[in-house]
Symmetry: C2
Subunit: 311 residues, 2 copies
């Protein structure tokens, strides 16, 4: 069975971790958001790609959910001494990844090539693809600061600020990275991870060809709701949905994705929303969706694969 | 008394450390080689500027003579995991300096502005100036690899390779950094630090205006020989002098600098060379020149200042 997963960061990484025991590595492709990539201190930082790699390598910081275990902060301490940009913390080990990626990009490698090298160095055999090699940036318009980059919103402002709109800045002639459309076309199941629909999955969907492909394969697309009991487990998905005029519930998620998904997996606590979700033409599957350990993540992975297979 | 010092890395840093107790900070200006700067992993690395700053801040690694005390190597360990460029070691603390410098250059700051901010953050009150804000690179032609950059020669090859020539690649329209020519014009004493004449001081001298100014003030210029008993204390100065057809002695140093210095301070062990040095029209001063501690460095600093004052 071939599986392609549209991914943001932490939630996607956990679902992928649950799929790894169920799907042969070469048949599993993560298609990852790069809208929150940033250039910092001259380095190219790809937070979602790294969260996925570190999580699957069992090297992620369990405490933070991102970054590396055993991390130290010597470089950032020095940056602080100089009064430099310190609102985006880069651990010393993590910096090694950014140094390597930046070096390879400087040599003319593409982001998907650099990513493949990083993933291979962690002995992972799934495909981890940036959705595009071209520049794509998520920009957030805030009430008090106007338009700022995603990381300024998410990290510097701790997403504690009202948002009026989100848009994506795409390089002219932006294309999907090699392998992205193939993986979506050939997958038996396409999964939309429980990532933020507005700022993690939408920047994947705006890449030319992706939404069109999902629409044409809608029956094979299964999303997992990132909203549980009206709340996001992590991050501002709940708040953003409301600020953009939607409902912060699994129903709101079904409505957001209705044109591209055939099935939505919602948490047990949202079982009562089944009829409202199906009113949007989306099959609703109810299951435990909080992936607090590998066993639970794998159980959810199985639900996702079954949800598609049973259609 | 105002003092300007032409500087490479370790030897210059030690002499400056000896001058700091003798000269008011604002009257002391280090004019520093940037020919061995490099772009690595997207970062701008300025080894000689940093060696001087770290040494004067009493933060330099006593063991290595460069880099920082209390250093860790987590980022480089990751770069190695990825099979990245690992022949030039960047410690985690040291990386903070490169991150800040690269960030400031990316914002449009000049190298001398970024350097002033770094120096101030270490609570130093002397002026540390890159000789130029423009791109200047030292290139070394080796017998077996052809032309390579200075750091490829010095670090990757451990300067253990025969050299046939050295040249400097200068940006078109390259200018001295603001303050450089003023400091040289207004100094009571101009010091040429005991750095490598070929690859540390020559790239300072090629910057337009510097050599002309030294020539016109030759009587006020005092060099300290980096060659002691025919050997360089550190690095390949001895070998390079021979490979470029000179003599690896204090006499060879006097000959190399004869047009721009009035006085050469040589080590006690080279007292017998006085007549040969003075045959080049250079006054010879004999003193202990090995700066193994601050006391010895300060004593040498005093010799250098007296050497000029007594003329």
């Amino acid at each position: 069975m071939r599986v392609a997963v549209l991914c943001g960061g932490v939630g996607a990484a956990r679902l992928l971790r649950g799929l790894v025991p169920l799907v042969d590595g070469p048949d599993l492709t993560a298609i990852v958001n790069v809208g929150d990539d940033l250039e910092l201190h001259g380095l190219h930082v790809s937070p979602d790609l790294d969260t996925i790699t570190y999580t699957l390598a069992e090297a992620v910081s369990a405490e933070r959910g991102w970054g590396l275990e055993g991390e130290t902060w010597q470089a950032m301490d020095m940056v602080k001494r100089y009064g430099g940009v310190d609102w985006f913390g880069l651990g010393d080990r993590d910096l090694g990844t950014h140094l390597f990626r930046t070096h390879r990009l400087g040599q003319g490698a593409t982001l998907h090539e650099a990513t493949a090298e990083i993933v291979a160095a962690w002995d992972l055999d799934l495909h981890v693809l940036p959705v595009t090699n071209d520049r794509l940036r998520t920009l957030v318009t805030t009430v008090d600061e106007g338009e700022i980059t995603f990381q300024e919103y998410f990290v510097r402002r701790q997403h504690d600020v009202a948002v009026t709109s989100v848009r994506f800045e795409l390089a002219e002639g932006l294309l999907p990275a090699p392998g992205v459309l193939d993986a979506l076309a050939q997958a038996d199941v396409i999964v939309v991870a429980p990532s933020n629909p507005v700022v993690s999955i939408d920047p994947v969907l705006v890449v030319p060809g992706v939404t069109e492909l999902l629409r044409s394969r809608r029956d094979d697309v299964v999303a997992v709701s990132p909203i549980i009991g009206g709340k996001a487990l992590k991050g501002p998905a709940d708040r953003l949905l409301v600020e953009l005029g939607r409902e912060s519930t699994a129903v709101g998620v079904a409505e957001w994705y209705r044109e591209i998904i055939g099935t939505l997996v919602v948490d047990d606590v949202d079982a009562s929303l089944t009829a409202d979700i199906e009113a949007h033409g989306v099959t609703c599957v109810v299951a435990p969706t909080i992936m607090s350990d590998l066993k639970k993540a794998t159980a959810l992975g199985q639900v996702v694969l079954n949800a598609s297979a049973s259609r």
